[in-house]
Symmetry: C2
Subunit: 748 residues, 2 copies
């Protein structure tokens, strides 16, 4: 069959979509960079940020490259040895080289995605600052399109990478249904780099942020981003290396891993339908995820272009309407447009691509819609927990009246509580899409319906369709944050600052929402990824699905080794979180001591007549981040391997599944708990908190100080541990997917 | 067979041990109460505490009694309906009444245990205060023996309750092997009451404590337990209702639930050996747990009496040795003596009781030793994480130099980190005891070895042998804490205060250690309890174990409903923790406002010339605790039932197992994170923290203030959420055990 099957022509869609998106991204990049770069004062700040970010990234990438190279060689060698030992159908050296190269290719693309994410953002920030002098509409367009450059490049690169790799391995003569398993190394490589990028960037940014806030705001009483604060440049650099570069790598690996996982499940469906005969299996099931995601990119592009400058009321015409609200309603509209046309697209694609192979194509179309609905549900839930308009944030702000102790207790309570609704949403989405899939009657592995599992994968793909738009909104966040910093540091007029402040506020919302979106899709994808792993361990050759009469397909928690592995998996999440937030705490303490030292050593800094030594603070962040990202990273890579080797493949699945459950919950606590603290502080700063007599408790009151303490605790939660956990969840899956042959060989 | 089997005479041991321990407890009680009650000033404080505690307990028990009665009727009715519908061997009304009455009996005994726990403690405190005037040795003996009264009464009551109930149901003609299932209602009733007692007491005590500390220590700058603080009596009452009454009920239900679970597994072994013929099954396997725990009580008594006044060096003879250290070394010696003779006892009992039924009795003896070793490991690990002598606490104290933000971050990092070693210890203990059990070759349910599971139960019993001694040490904590408060409030001389301060410090250690012991045994017991549940769901009649060829014995996480249930189970733990700490936060805010109001309304309070209004603060704690304990309690009782009803028995097992994993980890975070913050504060107060130049950063420095914030955040962690989670873990098991017939009936 191979490449001659007509169905494979469908792959032209993801390739074309990726290429179109890349062309658009370069067009947008040119458009963004053509904007003017503001005043000399602005350029000076922007240059310092640019230099710091470049310097960090190049040092960070060197470390990651070494780790990735070692890992690629080890993994390739291990898999080659097993292939040799087990007389696999492919020659042992092909298996080894294929996996090693896939890994390196994934790692390279993931790193590239991160680099691109940052590259444009760090040059867009000053253009936004300058555009803010002209008005809200201009600033919004520049920042969103700056974000879109990285958003679309990252997503297209991910899709193109997987598709091209699939075509290459296919061209080498592998059957369409066993190819996905051959390219899982790509996903592992991508996750591997994303973990270190996100973790290192996260430590960097929050060490600087926490340090700058605690000394600057509370002790010295100077505002955020004040040029007198020695840690301010490090803070602004951090926004780029943490939020842009880290997030870019993260979303890259998410789409890659989830695409490959879904393709593996597609292969399983295809083989089940063809009576396990590879020759009769239709590749439609395998390539469906790629086609859906490709269509999603186009839908996201359409969504992006519905956001227009003409739709934005400038502050002076708005009649007192909050400029942040105006900007947000534009962004939200773009998102909803993307969701609606994605919904139409997934139904059409299901009909056209799956219709020929199953009469029940509508069940998968509905599952796709469930996924899209789930993504919207997550946006609303996240907004409820992190926006000042609702109970949780207000509860924290109230607690700030009685000091930092109650602020922390209240924020932790909100953080733990906010796991409930997302878990219900996930449970419903997972249960419903699985149920829809069971209706198709495509056979089962033991008690588990093959169609049901595939439907959960389709739901995940539905959710991922808007990834391009969401990532654009996400990168919008650090760009506006930086623009605000540049405006503040270059002493631009009040009216300009109001615009960047408003956009910065919107950026905080979009950053929180994309984290919600990220964890929602990770949770939905988890089941897809487990099942892909089980498909592999119960059909070692990758060509025969397990049947009820063969091995007991499943993960039996009642079996002590599996339970122990589950316990270890959950513990791993807690330990990783501990290391991540400790890294920030330790680095922030060093930063605080340094800032205090500078203020003391040179009183002119506080008078504004001498420039502080920004470079030393940048150095502290850089070296802490590089030193402290290694141990947690090695831990989460090493533990599942060790468990799989010692306790076997089923135990590795137990670690994976219970670890994922713990990871989802912990990430929710970290992301939204942190976001709620942040916005409680903003709520107080905006003057909404009042005492019993109706007096405003605003900036520089004890309540505000308490809220700042809450915010600083939330910082490593929401920007270091939380986003890194997203990657960890998927990394656990991709590691076990790649090393399944090893576990099986040791525990036949 | 029934009562004529000679083996059943072994039950004389637990009955006799319980009776002996009860007689001893009453003797100790008389001895403690015969001590003098100190100065009139002391009596005034003590009376206020006694009245407050009695008032709260009677109101709390009224609420709990209503909830328990409703539950008993509903459960009895549901099980009767199912028995009728399924034509069970016992008449439907027998099933209904038996379960309802077992539940109420368990509930009553658990409540009684809590009441007893508090009753003596609240009268021992003043006698310790008075004895401290005579010296350290006297004070230690009175406080430990005061703790021992409740410790031994609680444990004996639990053992006696289960044994007597077993004998009654046996006498009614049930076979020895199906009796354990008939009495699980007792365990559920006990857990049910323990949950509300621990949660309500925990909210009460920490609302008062946090409120008192935040206003008193930080804002007003007065010491702990200062009589000028309006919340001080509420705080002292809280120690009794939270730590004594709550913990008493908790340990009661632990031993009850774990005993019954182990007996169910014993029945499974007996039946497997007898070829599933009830008539040939030896009851030795069923009663072994009761005999071991009975022997443990006697060992604990011996351990208790090795702590002697003569072994205590008084401060003036000690040559500068820390009095706390002297007292602790005595307590520790008693614990080690208990552990050593328990080890001998379990080997002897294994030989005598199991020797006749299996040649491999030694495997179970070794498993028992593994359990004892595990209990010692937990004591050391807990000590490492919560003592000022090691890295974790010192790290938090260091972080306090840079303010409350970094103190919280650092404490959370320690809390998350400290899940690692306990999980490894549990994994080893569970894996090793299971492995030992598999050597006995007693058959298997599918892949799960019956002997292996029974061996994990034996390990749990080994760990529980020292429960009497441990609970005595635990109750010692609040007694000495109260004694310190009474001494402080009655303006006793410095030398007396030094003794009670030292004992209070030891009490903090013992409280932390017993929490470690509690979660360690809960974690080990978890597997026992799951397996008991699986035994029931895979052999609905309770007389036939599942075989590999029958239903697929196991909990398959790869099955979406089971995975969803697992996700919900873990979420339940997070949500429960949220509600528990929020309850404390809200009540503490009310307390802070009230204390601030009193200080403002009457300046004479701070001058010490007018008495504050203690009663209003007691009222705030009481009403908050009663109001806020209901929702979290109903949530953890209701959710597993709902999941079992909607998604079926296997999903309920998924909820149970993943929920337990999350519960173990979260309880570790809460207990030891909280303990570490507390001791970091004490470390600073003791003057061990120094700045770069070697100056001591002690009380009333910014570092100390930051440490107090950490401590107040830790308070609801370690004394409300953490201990309540211990109960939740076991409650999940007992609920599902009791309602298994319902889930099976709905999902046949």
């Amino acid at each position: 069959m191979a490449l001659v099957d007509n169905t494979l022509w469908w792959l032209a869609l993801p390739v074309a979509a990726s290429v179109i998106a890349i062309i658009f991204a370069f067009g947008l990049r040119r458009w963004v960079l053509a904007n003017d770069t503001g005043t000399p004062a602005m350029r000076k700040v922007s240059d310092a940020i640019y230099k710091g970010a470049q310097a960090f990234l190049s040092r960070q990438y060197r470390t990651i490259a070494i780790l990735a190279l070692i890992s690629a060689v080890v993994i390739g060698a291990v898999l080659a040895i097993i292939a040799n030992y087990q007389h696999s159908t492919d020659p042992w050296w092909v298996v080894g080289i294929r996996t090693g190269l896939s890994f390196l290719f994934g790692a390279f693309c993931s790193g590239l995605a991160g680099y691109i994410g940052m590259q444009v953002a760090v040059r867009a920030n000053i253009r936004v600052a300058s555009a803010a002098q002209r008005g809200l509409g201009d600033a919004l367009m520049v920042s969103l399109r700056g974000g879109a450059v990285s958003g679309f490049l990252v997503i297209s690169l991910s899709l193109l990478g997987v598709t091209v790799l699939y075509l290459i391995v296919l061209a080498l003569g592998t059957s369409p249904t066993s190819t996905p398993v051959a390219i899982v190394g790509f996903g592992f490589g991508a996750s591997f780099v994303a973990l270190f990028a996100q973790l290192g960037g996260g430590i960097y940014t929050k060490a600087a942020d926490v340090g700058a806030d605690l000394v600057g705001k509370i002790e010295a009483g100077i505002p955020e981003d004040d040029p007198r604060n020695p840690a301010v440049i490090a803070d602004l650099v951090g926004d780029n290396v943490g939020d842009c570069a880290g997030r870019g790598a993260d979303i890259f690996e998410s789409t890659a891993a989830e695409n490959i996982g879904a393709m593996i499940l597609g292969a399983s469906v295809a083989l089940a339908l063809a009576g396990n005969a590879t020759a009769h299996a239709s590749p439609a099931w395998v390539i469906f995820p790629l086609v859906v995601v490709g269509a999603g990119i186009l839908c996201s592009l359409v969504g992006l272009f519905t956001v227009r400058k003409a739709g934005v009321l400038e502050p002076e015409q708005a009649g007192g309407r909050d400029p942040g609200e105006i900007a947000w309603s534009q962004l939200n509209r773009g998102y909803l447009v993307t969701a609606v046309i994605s919904a139409i697209a997934i139904v059409v694609i299901s009909y056209l691509l799956l219709g020929p192979v199953t009469g029940k194509w509508w069940a998968f179309a509905l599952a796709g819609l469930v996924g899209i609905a789930n993504s919207i549900a997550f946006v609303y839930i996240t907004n409820y927990y992190t926006s000042g308009s609702f109970r949780p944030v207000r509860e924290i702000a109230e607690a700030a009246k009685t000091g930092p102790g109650t602020t922390i207790i209240s924020g932790l309570a909100v953080g733990f509580e906010n796991t409930a609704l997302p878990v219900l949403a996930i449970s419903i989405a997972l249960g419903l899409s699985y149920y829809l899939g069971t209706l198709t009657g495509l056979g089962s592995h033991g008690v588990v319906s093959i169609g049901g599992i595939y439907a959960t994968a389709v739901a995940t793909m539905g959710m991922l369709m808007s990834a391009g738009y969401v990532l654009a909104m996400d990168t919008f966040g650090p760009i506006t944050d930086n623009a605000g910093g540049i405006v503040e540091m270059s002493n631009a007029p009040e009216s300009v600052r109001n615009i960047t402040d408003a956009l910065d506020g919107v950026g905080n919302t979009t950053k929180a929402l994309t984290k919600g979106y990220g964890i929602g899709s990770a949770a939905l994808a988890a089941f897809l990824l487990f099942s892909a792993y089980l498909d592999i361990i119960y059909s070692p050759s990758g060509t025969k699905p397990a049947t009820a009469s063969a091995l007991p397909y499943g993960v039996n928690l009642a079996n002590p080794p599996v339970f122990i592995a589950g316990l270890i998996g959950a513990m791993l999440i807690f330990l990783f979180s501990s290391l991540a937030i400790r890294a920030v705490g330790t680095a922030a303490q060093a930063m605080i001591q340094e800032v205090r030292r500078q203020f003391k050593a040179n009183p002119k800094i506080m008078q504004g007549t001498a420039e502080p030594d920004y470079a030393r603070c940048v150095d502290i962040s850089t070296s802490s981040a590089l030193r402290q990202m290694v141990l947690p990273g090695v831990l989460v890579v090493g533990t599942p391997i060790l468990v799989g080797v010692v306790l076997g493949p089923e135990a590795a699945a137990g670690l994976l599944m219970v670890g994922t459950v713990a990871g989802i919950l912990m990430a929710l606590v970290m992301n939204n708990g942190g976001g709620a603290w942040d916005n409680a502080k903003k709520y107080i700063e905006a003057g909404y908190l009042k005492d019993d007599k109706g007096n405003v408790l605003g900036k520089r009151t004890p309540a505000h100080d308490a809220a700042i303490v809450g915010d600083t605790v939330g910082d490593p939660f929401k920007d270091t541990a939380g986003p890194s956990l997203h990657v960890v969840i998927k990394l656990l899956s991709t590691i076990t997917l790649v090393l399944a042959p090893l576990f099986i060989a040791l525990h036949p």
